[in-house]
């Protein structure tokens, strides 16, 4: 039942405020058709709705490439403290030293843990961080009068946001093939590099769940050709504190704070795509950043970043997210950073080893996994007509959120599994046991799997109908008519 269907006309009363200063022609005729419900009705409705969700707090959620780790509750309590939650974005610096000191320290900690020289907290999501990074690469080449560099190289295993971002920045995209062992095809890369190359976007460890072993060579090739190297930080959790993108030769990186630094995913945002840069890109950083002058803190201005790409948001990105990330980093401290990558890697490799033993086929079986790994179910699809999607749906019945399905696009019938460091061995074992059970069901009772889920609030939904007979909002006529 929709909230609108609980509505009773006449429940809410308007006050008799006189709006005579506003001409009638500018005013609204009829009130908006929002629901009229009691506070309890609203609370009950949304509390009930919430129980129809899987979440980290309720279920193991091994969604590959999304780093669904525990989101410490204290980070939320602190972000909602009135001094932070009620602080106006344009408050004078006098009323801002506490907040600005947190933001400054967050910039510094992110620089340290990634090996970059400057950090901007402005981007509001990973995709916006990517945008800022590629816009900076373009601004850098433009400032050097290097206008012929019109192409961004992207491995075919990359996230869809990478090529979409390059297009948004006015670049053409050239895809580079990946070898069967997960590394970039260096020969194809060498053939693609030229005077038109503006840069390369790379995720390392890659979306295939392995570390790019040729990274130093790749960095050298790109730099010698005059291009810049962009690091997609989606998988930073895998190397946090152990290997730094700056040391690998990257010129600009984005970090998804909602992944690596445990801020909530919130049902699809808000995120934060903070970006780090090497020395030569500092003048191009977006507005705004925080600068320390002796003992006080201030907002950066245009003279701090001479060639700034400009604003990305109305104010300063998503500070409520930044505060949570700051709290998380301070709780972990320097020793905790390294533990993140160690235990997320341990968990992934343990799961991969156990699943291989249980008969599942790993996409890249002979290498160590990073913090995630890929199982391909192409054999099951061919022999049993049970697909990765079927496994995913059946997992829901068994109390596990499905891994990422059908990504990366290179691996047929794949599940990209990322357990994260905060899951216990017990939960990993439970997931593996569920996969083994589904495999047995697929062999003996195929339909049970291909028609799953059976225990969710709804069964498989008709997506074709959703797209063809668009029903995107409720209107009054739907209940009366």
């Amino acid at each position: 039942m929709l909230i609108f269907e609980h509505s009773k006309v006449g429940l809410h009363k308007k006050n008799d405020a006189q709006l005579t200063a506003i001409p009638a022609s500018m005013r609204r005729g009829e009130s908006a058709a929002l629901p009229e419900v009691s506070e309890l009705q609203a609370v009950r409705h949304y509390t009930r709705l919430s129980t129809k969700n899987f979440s980290i707090d309720t279920h193991f959620y091994p969604l590959g490439s999304c780093t669904m780790k525990y989101n410490p509750r204290v980070a939320n309590s602190i972000a909602l403290m009135p001094e932070f939650a009620a602080r106006h974005p344009l408050a004078p610096e006098k009323f801002s030293q506490g907040f600005l000191s947190c933001m400054y320290e967050l910039q510094e900690m992110l620089c340290e843990v990634t090996g970059m020289k400057g950090f901007s907290l402005a981007p509001m999501a990973g995709a916006q961080g990517e945008f800022a990074g590629i816009a900076m690469i373009r601004a850098y080449h433009d400032a050097n009068g290097d206008h012929e560099r019109r192409e961004i190289l992207v491995p075919d295993a990359a996230h869809g946001t990478n090529p979409a971002t390059a297009t948004m920045c006015g670049y053409t995209v050239k895809e580079i093939p990946t070898l069967a062992d997960g590394d970039v095809n260096i020969e194809a890369l060498a053939a693609a590099i030229g005077p038109q190359t503006a840069g390369l976007m790379l995720t390392n460890p890659s979306t295939l769940g392995v570390f790019e072993r040729q990274i130093q060579k790749i960095a050298k090739m790109i730099h010698e050709a005059g291009g810049l190297l962009y690091y997609d930080g989606a998988n930073l959790n895998a190397i946090l504190g152990k290997i730094r993108p700056g040391d690998m030769g990257f010129d600009v990186i984005h970090s998804n704070l909602h992944k690596t630094f445990a801020t909530p995913h919130g049902g699809g945002g808000p995120g934060s795509g903070a970006i780090g840069v090497s020395e030569r890109l500092i003048p191009f950083m977006p507005i705004a950043g925080v600068i320390k002058d002796k003992e006080s803190f201030r907002w950066a201005n245009k003279s701090d970043y001479a060639h700034s790409i400009g604003h990305l948001s109305a104010f300063f990105g998503n500070p409520g997210v930044l505060i949570r990330a700051y709290v998380y980093m301070r709780l972990l401290g320097r020793e905790g950073m390294t533990r993140v990558s160690e235990f997320s890697t341990l968990n992934a490799n343990y799961m991969m080893a156990e699943m291989k033993k249980a008969g599942f086929e790993a996409a890249i079986p002979d290498r160590f996994a990073s913090h995630e790994f890929i199982i391909t179910l192409k054999k099951q699809a061919k022999e049993l007509h049970v697909t990765a999607m079927d496994f995913a749906k059946r997992l829901l019945d068994l109390g596990y959120h499905a891994p990422t399905t059908y990504f990366p696009l290179l691996v047929p019938e794949c599940l990209l599994i990322e357990p994260t460091e905060t899951e216990s061995k017990e939960d990993l074992d439970g997931f593996i046991k569920a996969m083994v059970q589904i495999q047995q069901e697929a062999e003996n009772d195929t339909q049970l799997v291909t028609t799953a889920p059976h225990t969710m609030p709804v069964k498989r939904l008709d997506e074709v109908r959703a797209a063809r007979q668009l029903d995107l909002s409720w209107t009054v006529t739907q209940t009366t008519g």
């Binding site: 609108f4 009363k13 308007k14 200063a21 506003i22 908006a32 009229e36 509390t47 709705l49 919430s50 129809k52 707090d57 410490p72 939320n76 403290m81 009620a86 974005p89 506490g98 900690m109 843990v113 816009a135 869809g160 946001t161 979409a164 948004m168 920045c169 006015g170 670049y171 995209v173 130093q216 504190g241 995913h265 049902g267 699809g268 400009g310 990305l312 948001s313 109305a314 990105g317 409520g320 997210v321 709290v327 301070r330 905790g336 950073m337 890697t345 156990e354 033993k357 160590f368 990422t404 969710m456 609030p457 069964k459 939904l461 997506e463 007979q469 668009l470 995107l472 409720w474 209107t475």
Partner: protein, 454 residues
């Protein structure tokens, strides 16, 4: 080890299963030269109690000044239930609802959100939100260039009384695609856009005209006339709206003869705390004919195999994870959690509650302005109708006055001198429904004092 649940025994069992001696062996493929040293610039970890103490101190440094500033972020009351429900783990720690069957809570909520935004703005469809007001304008601009079939132009007319940061961010976000934002000047008397200032563009080719309602100066625009003019010139109309104001003002979908084509803006006034500038969310609504040009997530209602109602992400063929370099935008997530809060906020307040907050803010600002203008040397800058913000002209340096007012623990308003130097010493003030008469009087006496001292 905070948040890591492994015992020594378990670690050993796991390593044995993998066939390595120690965790570090798992990083054996990484070239030795790339191994990081100690992260000496990161402090050692704190306990939760120490962290709470530290942040209580940091918060106390900033205090709780009285807020008389808006300029795109507004200090409205949010019922306690809103964030208590929003931060339930099932909403707070879920992700994008890719597995629809296990995400019906979030999906239905987004569908309800879309329904609320369409009725509030008077538009046909809404998406699940974009990042914030500035990025919603940028996405609207990109969308209008894709969608306008009558024009091949990449020029957009943008009045100078549209939020200056929105304009600047939009420029950053669209310039890579060679889209040109053309400034239109505002009328010096009213601060609004007059048909006279548009005349110079008559007969020229451009994709869209942007109108902010209320404009950055807080004044109401003659949206009907501008909309009709734009349509007569084959341009689409992008309305940048304050959604709370929409509860009492003519909604964008009803502007002029045909309505705005796209409505965008910042959802912050509907349940998001100020929170230093975010997370808020960007509103994205449009006419039905443009829905396939819309960026971001959209939820649709459908049925399951047994005919039972359910909700899914739909029209995904527009998006980056399918279309890659040909996607309508690189946008991936929406601002789910804030949308959750906003949906609950609108449900609890209803139309009447929103209208009450909007009209009380309007009246409080009017009262503040009236009392301010009784002071010698203080006057309204523009002859116009305000919603809940007004530009005030001072006879002393604006920056110095704003600084002096901090002594009284008051944020006096937004100093316009940097963005609009032609206005001289002027500030943009705002008194939301939360400001009491006592606080307004406090403001007026602090201002009187400041003007005397500066």
């Amino acid at each position: 080890m905070p948040f890591i649940p492994h015992t020594e025994n378990e670690i050993n069992t796991m390593l044995e299963s993998i066939g390595v001696k120690q965790i570090d062996d798992l990083f054996g493929e990484v070239p030795k030269a790339l191994r990081a040293g100690e992260l000496s610039n990161i402090p050692v970890g704190l306990s939760e109690m120490q962290m709470t103490q530290l942040m209580t101190e940091r918060g106390a440094q900033d205090g709780r000044p009285l807020c008389f500033i808006g300029a795109g972020a507004y200090d409205h009351y949010v019922p306690a239930a809103v964030w208590q429900i929003t931060t339930r783990g099932e909403f707070y720690t879920a992700y994008t609802p890719y597995q629809a069957e296990a995400s019906q809570g979030t999906l239905q909520l987004i569908y309800e959100f879309q329904s609320m935004m369409t009725t509030l703005t008077g538009m046909d469809v809404s998406n699940a939100s974009v990042y914030d007001g500035a990025s919603s304008l940028a996405e609207a601009v990109l969308m209008s260039v894709r969608a306008n079939r009558k024009s091949k132009s990449k020029r957009i007319l943008v009045p100078r009384n549209v939020n200056p940061t929105y304009r600047s961010a939009t420029h950053t976000l669209v310039k890579g695609q060679n889209i040109e934002l053309v400034d239109i000047d505002y009328d010096k008397e009213t601060g609004g856009i007059s048909l006279d200032s548009l005349k110079a563009f008559e007969g020229e080719d451009f994709a869209a005209v942007v109108i902010q309602q209320p404009n950055f100066f807080g004044s109401l625009e003659d949206v009907d006339a501008i909309t009709d003019w734009a349509h007569a010139n084959n341009a689409l109309v992008i309305g940048v709206v304050n959604p709370l104001a929409m509860s009492i003002l003519k909604p964008a979908g009803l502007w002029g003869g045909a309505g705005a084509d796209i409505a965008c803006g910042d959802g912050q006034p509907l349940g998001a705390p100020l929170s230093s500038g975010g997370p808020y969310y960007g509103i994205m609504c449009c006419k039905k004919a443009l829905v396939r040009q819309m960026p971001g997530r959209i939820v649709g209602r459908t049925v399951d195999e047994e005919g039972k109602e359910g909700f899914v992400l739909t029209l995904q063929a527009r998006e980056q994870h399918i279309r890659r370099s040909k996607a309508t935008s690189n946008i991936c997530t929406n601002q789910g959690l804030v949308v959750t809060a906003s949906t609950i906020h609108m449900s609890i307040l209803g139309a009447a509650g929103l209208e009450n907050a909007a009209s009380q803010s309007h009246l409080n600002t009017a009262s503040l302005v009236e009392k301010m203008c009784a002071i010698d040397g203080v006057e309204k800058m523009f002859d116009s109708v305000s919603f809940h913000e007004t530009v005030i002209k001072l006879n002393k340096p604006a920056k110095a006055v704003v600084d002096a007012m901090t002594e009284a623990n008051i944020i006096a308003g937004f100093d316009l001198s940097e963005a609009y130097p032609e206005l001289g010493d002027a500030i943009l003030v705002c008194a939301t429904e939360q400001r009491t008469t006592k606080e307004i009087d406090q403001y007026v006496s602090a201002l009187t004092k400041a003007l005397g001292e500066v």
